[in-house]
């Protein structure tokens, strides 16, 4: 069964460092998303990406964040200068079309020390 793959599963970094979280969406999907879930809180939308550009982003997705699809398969989330409050589980998701039920990856647990 096709799945969304995320790497690494766990990332520990020092405050102020840059991190790149990687995702391989399902191959025939066209819409890609990043969400995060701080421990004990709800899943929060960060950004959606379609046709090689951001289609929507939330207030959380400020200038510290960027997304890229560097090749035909990978989809990355970069956090330029991490803060303690960036510690969370980051989920990548993809879907065939807009506003459809997305398939989620198993997440990257980011810990900022």
């Amino acid at each position: 069964e096709p799945e969304v793959t995320q790497t690494p599963s766990h990332q520990v970094t020092q405050m102020g460092q840059e991190v790149i979280l990687r995702c391989v969406p399902i191959s025939n999907h066209l819409y890609f998303y990043w969400y995060r879930q701080i421990l004990g809180q709800k899943v929060e939308f960060l950004v959606s990406f379609y046709n090689n550009e951001i289609s929507e982003k939330s207030e959380i997705f400020d200038d510290q964040f960027s997304v890229e699809r560097p090749d035909g398969s990978n989809f990355t989330l970069k956090i330029r200068s991490t803060k303690l409050e960036d510690s969370a589980m980051y989920f990548c998701a993809s879907s065939e079309g807009p506003r459809l039920g997305g398939f989620f990856g198993s997440g990257t647990q980011l810990s900022v020390l």
Partner: protein, 111 residues
């Protein structure tokens, strides 16, 4: 402000029981409501509901949407320990791709 509220926050039942999980929403330009099951990490998609009154069913799970009263329920019959998980409700608007999630209902099924 758009809101998605789930209840109860947590629930403990015995195997074989039937449970009903609730999700109410206040979202402008509503398009669809989705249910997910989150076990260890990744939410897995269960249902997408767009029309009122039409039940979606998958095995022991079923769900229905009421667009007039702005809520949905997820029913699980004959619960099993494998149903233990957090059940998430999310709403998407007609415009944009953002999914608004509720805080989830934590279901524990004990043998």
């Amino acid at each position: 402000e758009d809101k998605v509220v789930q209840s109860p926050l947590s629930l403990v039942v015995h195997e074989g029981d039937t449970v009903t999980l609730n999700c109410s929403y206040e979202v402008t330009n509503f398009r669809s409501l989705l249910w997910y099951k989150q076990e260890k990490k990744a939410p897995t998609f269960l249902f997408m509901l767009t029309s009122s009154g039409i039940e979606k069913k998958s095995g022991r799970l079923s769900s229905i949407l009421d667009k007039k009263e702005l809520f949905s329920i997820l029913n699980i019959t004959a619960t099993q320990t494998g149903d233990s998980a957090i059940y998430l409700c999310a709403v998407v608007r007609d415009t944009g791709n953002q999914f608004y999630f509720g805080t989830g209902t934590s279901l524990t099924v004990i043998p």
